[in-house]
């Protein structure tokens, strides 16, 4: 596990763009790396976890933080 952790500022983007940005970033990461997606679109709390589930990644935490909608995920081996 490389243990790399990146925060993506996806505020101002509407779904599915946050999902696309997460997808594109995850493609360049290794299993075990983590991404914290910070969004302004509340739909991201449904869409990013759904994308994680079907693509073999793991949601560590999701919820509201200071008015933003945050999904913290770990890259899976898929």
């Amino acid at each position: 596990m490389s243990g790399r952790r990146e925060e993506l500022d996806l505020r101002g983007l509407l779904c599915p763009l946050p999902v696309i940005r997460v997808q594109d970033r995850v493609a360049g990461l290794a299993p075990g790396d983590e991404v914290i997606a910070v969004c302004s679109d509340p739909g991201a709390l449904n869409d990013i976890p759904a994308w994680c589930k079907i693509n073999g990644h793991f949601v560590l935490w999701k919820g509201e933080r200071g008015g933003d909608y945050v999904v913290h995920l770990r890259v899976g081996a898929a």
Binding site: L14, P16, V19, I20, G43, D47, A50, N55
Partner: protein, 348 residues
């Protein structure tokens, strides 16, 4: 044992593409989904923007379908290359600015690229002969296969038996006998198939998710093109066409007036790039002014229209804050325009 054949399925989020993928999955084919973001699939955006819609959790239907099917979904941002489809459709537009046939050719050609890049064998779509007036007719479906370059690697499981056998059928990658011969606009067979597959929840088809089929949206897009040096657009333009009231009081500028708190918050993100007006003395909307060469008189008119949609609409005066791009805001008081003083022709 040999590896299963691999198909990439175009997943729109509706029932037909869901069924098409499931039919092929049932034959032991490894299926992954692909979904294209053009910028016009904005249904979810309005829900995300408008505060009154936030009580209804909005799912992305394509992701939801992939989840139900247990397949991966690849969402591809095609906003830039899709512009040529919208601006220069070789096969023309439908009833509005919907270039459905060119759109389908484009998407299948992009799926073909993806298929080749990822070592997949064929493409699956949920098309049905006779279901759509432009892209899903007996005479245009071969056009999609030919002009996309997919040729006989394009399988339409819902109506395959109405069409010549494709390579996946000829080579035995799928069993043609287990494909379907659906045609026409009736949804009965699809609904029956859904029941058979245990699919009880699916998005209702309503002309797809594309706002180019919407008359009002298309009218606003035409207006945008008519008042710019050339027919062009950026993603932000597409987003803003979905938000607020749009009025064009003068040929050289238009107003986007927020209708509620969620829209105001969304337009806030664009405030620095536009001349804008907000009410100060009374709760009211935020208005973006899109145009160039704005005069003091134009700004005053925008302020009076903004005041008309504020809670001070009946007051003798409403204080507003207005700013041109890059300039400090300044405050002044205006008389709200009466509803009768706003001609219908100003509304887009």
């Amino acid at each position: 044992m040999s590896e299963p054949r691999k198909a990439v399925a175009l997943i729109s989020g509706g029932l037909d593409s869901m069924l098409a993928a499931r039919i092929v999955q049932e034959q032991g084919v490894h299926v992954e989904g692909i979904n294209f973001f053009t910028g016009f699939c904005v249904e979810g955006h309005t829900h995300a923007i408008r505060k009154r819609d936030r009580g209804r959790p909005k799912r992305n239907n394509a992701l939801w379908v992939a989840e139900q099917l247990g397949i991966k979904l690849h969402i591809v941002d095609v906003v830039e290359p899709y512009k040529d489809v919208v601006l220069n459709p070789r096969h023309g537009y439908g009833a509005n600015l919907n270039p459905c046939l060119d759109c389908k050719i484009f998407m299948v050609s992009k799926a073909l690229e993806w298929m080749r890049d990822h070592g997949f064998d064929f493409i699956v779509t949920g098309e049905v002969v006779g279901q759509r007036p432009m892209s899903q007719r007996r005479d245009t479906m071969p056009v999609v296969a030919r002009e996309s370059g997919a040729e006989d690697l394009l399988l339409r499981p819902l109506c395959a038996k109405n069409l010549p056998p494709t390579r996946p059928e000829r080579e035995g990658w799928v069993d043609r006998d287990r494909l379907y011969a659906i045609s026409g606009r009736s949804r009965k067979v699809q609904q029956e198939l859904a029941r058979r597959f245990g699919i009880t929840d699916y998005a209702q088809p309503a002309g797809g998710c594309c706002f180019l089929t919407d008359a009002n949206y298309s009218a606003k897009l035409r207006d945008l093109w008519a008042h710019r040096p050339g027919r062009r657009y950026e993603l932000d333009d597409l987003m803003l066409l979905k938000v607020g009231r749009h009025l064009r009081p003068r040929p050289h500028f238009k107003l986007i007036v927020s209708r509620e708190e969620g829209e105001t918050r969304f337009l806030e993100g664009y405030r620095k790039r536009f001349a804008h007006v907000r009410t100060v003395s009374h709760p009211g909307p935020l208005t973006l002014i899109e145009g160039e060469g704005l005069s003091e008189e134009d700004l005053a008119l925008a302020a009076r229209i903004t005041a008309r949609y504020s809670q001070g609409r009946g007051a003798p005066g409403v204080e507003v804050e207005a700013a041109l791009p890059g300039q400090a805001p300044r405050r002044f008081t205006v008389t709200p325009l009466s509803p009768e003083a706003i001609p219908r022709a100003w509304y887009l």
